[in-house]
Symmetry: C2
Subunit: 269 residues, 2 copies
């Protein structure tokens, strides 16, 4: 069932309210000394901070009040089934490693989705006070230089392109090799931007973001923002990426096709 204009406006208003509620909570602990970091993933280092949990709780409390019939899928507190057919997909702090290192490239990710995927999304960077939004006919950023329309880059060859990922290892060895097969053909490869890389793609600054091992809450908001800005996001088989996994986000269909062919050639080999 399509979402009518009135509901769209309400959902956008609620999404902004969620981001507004999460911002001060995340900043309360940002750059503090002695930040608590649990090790929830025994195989590696995946810190979960007090701020992460508080941020999601603040958003869930607001949703209980404003949209009690919607489902919620959040990083910290799991899945709450709803009855409206709509689900809020929340990452209270995407890029917790960046967060505990003081970088300004983590973000609050908020998407409102139906069964087919995200309809509207927000990538919010509280420290910079910058918010990227996309969906329901809107694609815009509001930040230090004011408000602007988001539009992805026009097509250019991979040899003239900039590609981003957060960690050089990307995921497993095969993921790293596939990424490097693309990166070696690109003009410039940059690391370490967390969800901010997707925001930069939507803002027309880079051509490709390629990552692996993502969860739904890592990618649904970026999908909404990037699609609204004219870009395309799929998995490495060219299928929908809203459940996470291996993701390629591209500024346009041409560079998506060029990079996807390389990725598929690596993982199918």
């Amino acid at each position: 069932m399509p979402v009518d204009k009135t509901t769209q406006a309400e959902l956008m208003s609620v999404a902004h309210a969620l981001a507004d509620a999460a911002r001060p909570v995340t900043l309360a602990h940002f750059r503090a000394s002695g930040l608590t970091a649990d090790n929830k993933d025994c195989a590696g280092f995946d810190p979960v901070t007090v701020a992460d949990r508080d941020s999601e709780q603040a958003m869930r409390a607001l949703l209980a009040e404003l949209r009690p019939d919607d489902g919620i899928l959040g990083e910290e507190f799991g899945h709450k089934t709803g009855t409206s057919g709509l689900t809020w997909v929340l990452d209270p702090i995407d890029g917790t490693r960046g967060y505990i290192s003081g970088t300004p490239t983590w973000g609050i990710l908020i998407a409102i989705s139906d069964a087919k995927g995200p309809l509207f999304g927000i990538i919010d960077q509280p420290y910079i006070q910058e918010r990227f939004v996309g969906g329901f006919g809107i694609a815009s950023v509001d930040g230090p230089m004011g408000k602007a329309i988001l539009a992805t880059r026009p097509a250019r060859a991979l040899s003239d392109a900039t590609v981003m990922t957060t960690f050089p290892e990307v995921g497993a060895d095969i993921d790293r090799r596939a990424f490097q097969a693309v990166a070696t053909q690109a003009q410039l490869t940059r690391y370490g931007m967390d969800c901010y890389a997707y925001a930069l793609l939507a803002a027309g600054q880079v051509d490709l973001v390629i990552e692996a091992g993502l969860n739904a809450y890592d990618i649904q908001a970026p999908i909404a923002v990037i699609q609204a800005a004219g870009g395309i996001v799929t998995d490495w088989q060219g299928e929908p990426a809203h459940d996470g996994g291996r993701v390629i986000a591209a500024a346009n269909t041409q560079i998506h096709a060029e990079a996807l062919a390389i990725l598929k050639g690596q993982i199918d080999a």
Copy 2:
């Protein structure tokens, strides 16, 4: 000859004036589409933008007016000999690759130095509107969360530490191997922060920044800020780093010694 208090105050005032002049010039082209990027380094990709040149020219024009007897060493327009014994060391946009990718981690670097090295420095991030300063008894940051004192982290083991560098390849193969020898023993390794990594070290957020192939104008301002905040910056032999090259910046003498021993073991092998 030591710089007296009156001169210190004047130099600090001029340094801030330079950063104030450079900020709008750098932002005039930031995130614009179709940014011009020359390829000045034929061996690789080292874009020099219009903003880079304009930013240095703005600072040189101000110095010609305010401090005509000082020398200037700048990335874009080389060395101007002075008569005062003091030299302004300027990188108008450190992290041009980050700049043309839209990231908020490039910066304006300004140092005032004598023959022994930097006395006072500024790391300025115009987009975030954040300025890290250090020297003449001051170590502070002024940014989105207001003004705060800079202080590096207390000692912790490398196995509990966060280490940063901008590119995974670091420099030549031997540099990469030496960096990786340290990084594999650290708790967390992060990439892609350009000069912002040094600011985060001064702000007590990370323990080590290790890079190679730097120029004097890349490191003199970070040295001043980090030393003022309680940290230590040397080359990989433990010698002064103000001429650039291989650099290790550390939060304290203990982790500096632990990481330096590993680096030396690799490059002396």
